[in-house]
């Protein structure tokens, strides 16, 4: 008992010694952890391009040069015209000359008809900087960051030409990219709703806290058809072998 008591007193004293070190000294010592980045290091990693084109490197690329790069490095996944839905969702399609005029893609309105089978990148993206930045940082898929700056301009120019944003004989550059931005088909299509951006915000959808005889039809409006029950595999093999339940054997026809 005595030894234990001594030990715990020692522990308290030791703790006091640590916390007793001047706070300012701690802070100064902490501030020196790490080192300054060199300009070359910042340049190597700071590759992002903002919508106001801050970060966009100087360069230029023509539609035809971009088309060559595309055929060589992009078309296998995205299709010759950025239309393919084989590997990734389509990039090009579903926008019109009218959209370019308005800066809003009409096919996105609920109930509207679209010429594209599904939403494409060009239907959604409001900022040309996004295309440039992403192709530059992440494409091609299996060799990201391997395109030269001019090649990135060329590929963006080729995509924009497919969407009718720039003409087929266009050369896109840091000097004229703002003009392409002014013709992006969905440039006015983004809304900013602060309550869904800030964790301190309040939501836009309301439910009430009813407890008894609440207004509901208790009608099943949608259910999984029997044929789809095994779409994610046999559920008996995805549940524990003990407990209050088992997985349903979805390899067998549904029981009644």
């Amino acid at each position: 008992m005595k030894t234990k008591l001594k030990l715990s007193v020692a522990a308290v004293l030791l703790g006091a010694a640590f916390t007793g070190v001047a706070h300012a000294d701690n802070k100064t010592a902490m501030m020196s952890v790490g080192r300054d980045a060199t300009p070359a290091e910042v340049k190597a990693w700071d590759i992002d391009v903002r919508p106001d084109f801050k970060g966009l490197p100087k360069g230029a690329g023509s539609v035809s040069m971009g088309e060559n790069v595309w055929e060589d490095k992009c078309a296998a996944c995205h299709g010759g015209f950025g239309e393919s839905n084989e590997v990734f969702t389509p990039i090009i399609g579903g926008t019109t000359a009218e959209d370019i005029k308005n800066g809003r893609v009409a096919a996105l309105v609920e109930g509207a008809k679209s010429t594209a089978p599904q939403k494409t990148t060009i239907m959604k993206v409001a900022t040309v900087s996004t295309l440039w930045d992403y192709i530059n940082r992440a494409m091609p898929w299996n060799a990201p960051k391997s395109l030269t700056t001019d090649e990135v301009y060329g590929v963006v120019a080729y995509l924009l030409s497919l969407a009718g944003v720039v003409p087929a004989d266009h050369t896109l550059s840091d000097k004229n990219i703002a003009e392409a931005q002014a013709r992006m088909p969905n440039r006015n299509g983004m809304a900013y709703y602060e309550p869904m951006w800030k964790t301190s915000g309040k939501g836009d959808v309301k439910n009430v806290l009813c407890m008894k005889d609440c207004a509901t039809e208790v009608k099943i409006t949608s259910f999984l058809p029997d044929y789809a029950k095994s779409a994610q595999g046999n559920l008996v093999e995805q549940n524990r072998v003990v407990g209050p339940t088992r997985g349903v054997d979805t390899s067998k026809p549904a029981s009644k």
């Binding site: 409001a126 900022t127 990201p144 800030k198 915000g201 959808v205 259910f223 008996v236 995805q238 072998v241």
Partner: protein
């Protein structure tokens, strides 16, 4: 001991041979609490007697007790046989799984957490859901660097050695993909809670507060409005994060559940952005830029945006709003019998702590308040439990969570009324599970 359910569930499934008459089945139903009833329902005659051991004692008692098993009579295995422990061989069903056909390339895909089999609030690290945009890596931590640049007095570089000697904090938070439950916006689409809600995990993360690092770099507090987080992998994933979050509870984390991050989850360094969708929790974090404008990165200009009925997209909507789901019983499970059950599930909110969870067994007409298990932490999963006696009749189970802001989890029709039917992300509606008379639980929509 995995039994064919047709053998175990007395009342539920006709005998496999299908040779019980309707009359005998009815008799079995009435007598189902007794052993004989179960035996009858399981199939008549000798076969039934052999199978009856699963149901209860025969004669002197149950074989599982009367005949001592090998593990009671023999010598067990030595220590350190598995230097890094693994789950029991009997638990092999509970694993991360892909949803076939959801994506075309496995490097830009998802694997889902098996919520149907988990307990409490912490997700085992090996079962943490995966979402990769361009494949995952196991990066040498000694070569990993974090750079902080932009609107700071000193642009700095930190090694893992540097970061790990700084004052650290440990916090429990949920991470949910912005596209979790996305398949259910329109109609019911998937077979179990693993696929409807399994892009959800919760862990204890350890790291240094981002605010500490930003202070160390001399952040320009007047000009700084946003930060950009960037990954070191091929996709070099970037996301804009509000400065309010960055200076509040965002962590630069290296550890998860007491060990270093798993490679699939960003080893050696990832951002933890409590309450915000998983895509912002940049993995393999290599750079933080402090800026004064939003960045419109691909995953905030083309994806993770909310398609509204008027055709606009809400950009930068990242909060994971209050949500809950019953994990047992849930779709794809089969109740063993009528009688007592513990209905259990998870609730969470990106805006704060869970205040309360109500559970309905009649499709939302009447509700009872569930017990919340501790700890109840802000922006973390909260486990709820409630007693239920199943009378064997069809039932529709729902859970409805309320968070500390007073927000009530909405119904799917309420969500659609505001955001339309074309939206993909941020689906936090009340989930309905139908319990059929045969004990089978399935995914349905009821509002």
């Amino acid at each position: 001991m995995s039994k064919d359910l047709s053998e175990v569930i007395g009342r539920v499934v006709p005998a496999p041979e299908n040779h019980l008459s309707a009359d005998m089945l009815e008799k079995a139903r009435k007598a189902r609490r007794s052993f004989m009833g179960k035996a009858l329902a399981m199939g008549a005659g000798v076969a039934a007697a052999a199978k009856a051991q699963a149901a209860g004692p025969v004669g002197e008692g149950e074989d599982a007790i009367l005949t001592l098993p090998e593990h009671t009579k023999g010598l067990g295995l030595p220590v350190a046989m598995n230097p890094y422990g693994q789950p029991s061989q009997w638990e092999k069903n509970l694993i991360r799984r892909e949803s076939p056909g959801l994506t075309r390339v496995p490097q830009a895909s998802v694997s889902f957490t098996p919520l149907q089999g988990l307990f409490g609030i912490i997700t085992p690290s090996g079962l943490h859901f995966e979402r990769h945009h361009q494949g995952w890596w196991d990066i040498d931590p000694s070569k990993h660097r974090l750079m902080i640049n932009g609107l700071v007095k000193r642009q700095r570089v930190f090694t893992m050695d540097d970061l790990m000697r700084l004052p650290s904090v440990s916090r429990i938070h949920f991470i949910e993909c912005g596209a979790n439950s996305a398949t259910e916006w329109g109609n019911v689409a998937v077979s179990s809670v693993q696929y409807s809600h399994g892009m959800l995990s919760c862990s204890e993360f350890t790291g240094v507060l981002l605010s500490t690092l930003l202070e160390m770099c001399g952040i320009d507090k007047k000009k700084a409005k946003f930060i950009l987080a960037e990954g070191a992998d091929g996709s070099s994933m970037t996301r804009t994060i509000p400065i309010e979050n960055a200076m509040d509870d965002v962590l630069v984390a290296w550890a998860m559940n007491g060990e270093m991050l798993r490679p699939e989850n960003g080893y050696p360094l990832r951002l933890v952005v409590p309450g915000i969708q998983g895509v912002s929790w940049v993995k393999y974090l290599r750079r933080i830029e402090v800026g004064d404008e939003r960045y419109a990165a691909k995953d905030e200009a083309v994806h993770y945006i909310d398609h509204m009925p008027d055709g606009t997209h809400r950009q930068y909507s990242g909060v994971q709003e209050c949500k809950s789901v019953i994990t047992t019983p849930s779709a794809g499970q089969l109740l063993l019998d009528k009688g007592f059950y513990n209905v259990t599930g998870l609730a969470w909110s990106g805006r704060g702590a869970i205040k309360r969870v109500d559970v309905s067994v009649d499709g939302g007409r009447n509700w009872r308040t569930a017990r919340l298990e501790g700890p109840i932490l802000p922006k973390a999963l909260t486990r709820f439990n409630i007693d239920w006696v199943w009378d064997g009749k069809p039932a529709i189970l729902q859970a409805r969570a309320v968070d500390s802001t007073g927000y009530v989890q909405p119904k799917i029709n309420q969500l659609r009324a505001v955001r339309g039917t074309k939206s993909v992300y941020h689906q936090n509606a009340i989930q309905s599970w139908k319990v059929a008379e045969n004990g089978e639980v399935s995914n349905v929509q009821v509002f």
